[in-house]
């Protein structure tokens, strides 16, 4: 690799700066930041993919904890929804890890790429939808007391919302867990649409709750990466520091943005991830 013509200090500072941006975006959209960190480190800085993925797992946990610290306090995260759905994501992650190597990754990339592309289109169609509108009744959500409310800083009022299609959400979270266990990507990119489209949570609550959840999914696999030696101090260190700072700053911004702009930003990122997955699947790597 030719790009490694830097001093260690320059490399650490560049990685740190990229990670601040990744943390900021991740905190706003409920993603782990891997979609920025991995290509930036490998294509941009010429780092071995193995260390980039190790650093991206750290980045997911850093985004999650950095952003959720604020979102939980501000009541933006729906704790009950998050913890309930973690049941499915953790089982999914274990299934995914078990299936890894037993199924052809190529077709999975195509299938999930299409799934994300479809979610992006659906979310774009719903970009004007009101937060907290009427939803079909759901006995499971009633029983688990999943409904909630948050204060919207843009609308200057408390938004009460009701949760619906809990079982469908749980099923989609299982799939999301499988995908992150299998492919190591897309942990937040599938969680947010599942909560937004199926369970009808307001978009800000969906991204904040996704942020809360992705740390647990990533922590489950982080042990493996650590034991394998994929986590390199001089790479993952600046990534962790940058993402933590970026995510904390991003968490201050979410409340001030309109739901519509967050939806549109999410759609753009989702299309990008979906394109990346389809490309990988078609190329057959």
């Amino acid at each position: 690799m030719t790009q490694l013509h830097q001093t260690v200090l320059q490399f650490v500072l560049t990685t740190f700066a990229i990670s601040v941006a990744a943390g900021l975006l991740g905190a706003l959209l409920g993603l782990g930041g891997g979609i920025i960190v991995v290509p930036a480190l490998t294509l941009g800085l010429g780092l071995d993919i193995r260390y980039a993925i190790g650093a991206s797992v750290v980045s997911v946990i850093a985004t999650s904890s950095g952003a959720a610290a604020a979102y939980v306090r501000e009541h933006m995260t729906n704790l009950r929804v998050g913890m309930f759905l973690e049941v499915a994501t953790t089982i999914g992650a274990i299934t995914g890890a078990f299936l890894a190597g037993r199924v052809a990754g190529r077709w999975l990339f195509v299938i999930f790429g299409l799934m994300m592309g479809y979610s992006a289109l659906e979310m774009f169609r719903n970009r004007h939808s009101d937060e907290g509108g009427p939803v079909p009744p759901d006995r499971v959500a009633d029983r688990l007391k999943l409904h909630g409310s948050y204060y919207d800083q843009v609308l200057h009022r408390q938004i009460d919302y009701r949760v619906t299609h809990t079982w469908i959400g749980l099923g989609l979270m299982y799939v999301a867990g499988c995908v992150s266990g299998l492919l190591g990507i897309g942990s937040g990119a599938l969680k947010v649409p599942a909560m937004d489209l199926a369970m009808r949570l307001p978009i800000k609550v969906s991204t904040a709750t996704s942020n809360f959840m992705i740390g647990v999914t990533a922590a489950a696999s982080a042990g493996v990466y650590f034991a394998r030696g994929d986590i390199l101090s001089l790479v993952a260190g600046p990534v962790a520091a940058g993402v933590l700072i970026g995510a904390s700053a991003g968490s201050l911004l979410l409340g001030r943005l309109t739901s519509r702009s967050i939806r549109i930003a999410f759609v753009v990122v989702l299309l990008w991830v979906s394109g990346q997955m389809l490309w990988k699947g078609m190329r057959g790597s």
């Binding site: 610290a69 913890m83 042990g223």
Partner: protein, 132 residues
């Protein structure tokens, strides 16, 4: 005390755990990086070091014993790794504490749900250590 107060207290507790995890790991990671640069002044000038420290096959301390040993010797790389491990542990601690939080909220169903999630995390750690 009514239910809303209890729920609010739980939220503040969980937020506090995350914040403590974030600030501690950030401080330890930064300290480790600074120590690395103090011990290796050529990291600031030489362009020869980077390909070496990021060469495929190179590893930072990657079991707990090596991390502890490295910290005893005052190695920055080991200190940074300790910070990263604290960061990785934060969501796990959050789940564990939530179990008690739901006991406090008198919500047996969520005590079961959260205990299950913690059990799954433990299972995945073991599966991981077998594989890794």
């Amino acid at each position: 005390m009514n239910d809303t107060d209890r729920t609010r207290k739980v939220e503040i507790l969980i937020s506090m755990i995350l914040r403590i995890g974030v600030l501690t790991s950030l401080a330890v990671v930064m300290a480790g990086l600074v120590i690395s640069f103090i011990h290796h002044p050529d990291y600031l000038r030489s362009r020869q070091d980077l390909p070496q420290v990021t060469a495929p096959g190179r590893t930072s301390p990657h079991d707990l014993h090596d991390v502890v040993e490295g910290i005893r010797q005052g190695r920055g790389e080991a200190v940074t790794m300790l910070g990263l491990l604290l960061l990785i542990a934060t969501p796990v601690v959050r789940v564990a504490v939530s179990i008690f939080a739901f006991v406090y909220e008198r919500d047996p169903l969520f005590v079961v749900i959260t205990t299950f999630v913690l059990a799954m995390l433990v299972v995945s750690f073991f599966l991981g250590s077998v594989e890794g």
